[in-house]
């Protein structure tokens, strides 16, 4: 419990640090929101003209989009700072985390909290609720519970990949830019119903880079579209679990690779 309190203090410090750094809190939040909004307007324009994409209508796609943006916001709040550390590992600044009595990963994550993520955490649910006007989802208590699990599980997947990338950098590998590509993949490819991709690509995006498990499968489950999926429905239902498994794997790899850390420089 004490470590939870320490984690919370560190996170708040990261938040305050972020606010000291940014001149205008509201403006930053706005930017985060606008960025996602532009992405959505794109789909909206397409669907205004073309009615459906891989049989998903505007409402379906908005539902998916809102879900994904909310998760991306949560990812940003929790691990937004994870873009930084792999360069810190190379420069040997990681040392300072290793001499403090807290998980080095936790310390890195909380060093600065990107405020733009707040924009997504507000905009995402707004879009999601709006989308609900257009689709028919039976919101039973089970469905709500599933939604909650899906949010948490989905928000764990991208961080898990980021943690894995950071772990790679312990072996003095150059992974600059890989983070950015991963973010692109999750954001760009995850925005669309995966049905539009070839079977091979779908496989890669399911079992290779787990984009499908993030928002697509949970959305499909809630929208009752599991029949058209490439995988058996049960896999889609267990999507939240994927997040937990991937994260556990990533953390284990991180701990293991920490041993190979050779702090460079002086």
């Amino acid at each position: 419990m004490r470590s939870l309190s320490i984690a919370a203090s560190l996170w708040l410090a990261g938040l305050r640090g972020g606010m000291e750094y940014r001149a205008d809190f509201l403006l930053t939040m706005l930017f985060g929101f606008v960025r996602e909004a532009t992405g959505f307007v794109l789909i909206w324009v397409i669907l205004a003209r073309f009615a459906a994409i891989a049989r998903w209508t505007l409402g379906d796609v908005a539902f998916l989009y809102g879900l994904r943006v909310t998760m991306h916001g949560l990812v940003g709040l929790g691990t937004g700072n994870l873009w930084g550390p792999e360069s810190r590992v190379r420069q040997g600044e990681f040392d300072r985390y290793l001499v403090r009595p807290a998980s080095p990963l936790l310390q890195v994550l909380t060093e600065r909290v990107p405020l733009s993520a707040f924009g997504e955490v507000l905009g995402g649910p707004a879009l999601f609720l709006a989308a609900n006007q257009l689709v028919h989802v039976d919101w039973t208590p089970w469905a709500l519970l599933y939604l909650l699990f899906a949010l948490v599980g989905g928000a764990l997947l991208e961080p898990a990949i980021r943690v894995l990338i950071v772990s790679l950098s312990f072996r003095a590998l150059r992974v600059t830019g890989l983070m950015a590509i991963m973010d692109d993949i999750f954001s760009d490819f995850g925005t669309y119903p995966l049905g539009i991709f070839s079977a091979a690509l779908q496989f890669v995006l399911t079992f290779g880079i787990p984009v499908a498990f993030t928002a697509y499968f949970p959305a499909a489950v809630l929208l009752g579209r599991t029949a058209a999926l490439q995988v058996p429905p049960i896999v889609a239902y267990c999507a939240p679990l994927a997040g937990v498994l991937w994260m556990a794997f990533a953390l284990a790899v991180f701990q293991h690779e920490l041993r190979h850390y050779t702090s460079a420089g002086h």
């Binding site: 930017f31 606008v34 960025r35 532009t38 150059r174 830019g177 950015a180 590509i181 991709f197």
Partner: protein
């Protein structure tokens, strides 16, 4: 040096990834129909591919430079001496674009293969494209300047640049051809400088512009260059005045 190359290589990768994604999306959207609204799928994809490459070449490097100067607190000095500063900006922009070129050349064959890029509609189209591209490049540099100057007030250029990149892509037709826009949105797009920056050169390349429309198209670009120069100049003066009042 190699870090820069690695960075640029990754940028190429990101662009190709995006191009592939857009190709897949549009193929799915067309759902087997060869032509929609008189536009063939192949044309859409070619257009988008070229547009994406163009957006990259026309990145607002000038805005970044100004942002750095603002951050270092040296912007006041720069504004007070416009001639050398403009020289520096131009050098920075051209230098940046020059370092992009080898990678653009690398990307072009890949764009042909993966992205469905096609050759210009005709030799004339190709030549017109070059002229129009230069004009469009000027427009983008000026937009970059304006954005950079906005950063002088808001101290937040990074966010503005990010928004600009998304919005400009969108209204250039680099994501959805403008032909598919709902009418009112199309009118909005017409009012923005992104037409002049990218859409017009692209249309000329694809041969979508009727011969008698060509002078008008180039004219629009020129008008925007003038308008942007005026805007930038006004902002510059405002900025200088504020520096003088506040003491930098």
């Amino acid at each position: 040096m190699s870090r820069l190359w690695l960075n640029l290589a990754f940028q190429v990768l990101r662009i190709l990834l995006r191009v592939c994604l857009l190709k897949v999306i549009w193929t799915a959207v067309y759902a087997g129909q060869g032509v929609v609204d008189g536009v063939a799928l192949g044309q859409v994809i070619a257009f988008i591919t070229l547009a994406q490459l163009q957006v990259w070449v026309m990145s607002p490097l000038v805005a970044d430079y100004i942002r750095e100067r603002v951050r270092e607190g040296k912007i006041a000095l720069d504004l007070a001496r416009p001639a050398p500063f403009l020289g520096q900006l131009l050098a920075h922009q051209l230098g940046g674009t020059a370092s992009l070129l080898p990678f653009v050349l690398l990307a072009v064959p890949l764009a042909f293969e993966l992205g469905g890029l096609v050759s210009p509609a005709s030799l004339a189209a190709g030549l017109l494209y070059l002229v129009s591209f230069v004009l469009g490049y000027f427009v983008s540099v000026l937009i970059g300047l304006v954005i950079g100057l906005v950063g002088f007030w808001t101290l937040q250029t990074q966010g503005v640049i990010a928004i600009y990149l998304y919005v400009s892509q969108f209204f250039t037709g680099a994501l959805v051809p403008l032909g598919f826009f709902p009418a009112w949105l199309r009118r909005v797009a017409d009012l923005l400088p992104f037409q002049a920056q990218a859409f017009i050169p692209l249309s000329l390349y694809m041969g979508n512009v009727a011969p008698k429309e060509i002078p008008r198209a180039l004219g629009v670009q020129l008008v925007w260059v003038v308008v942007l120069i005026a805007i930038a100049w006004l902002m510059w003066r405002r900025a200088i005045r504020r520096v003088v009042i506040q003491g930098g």
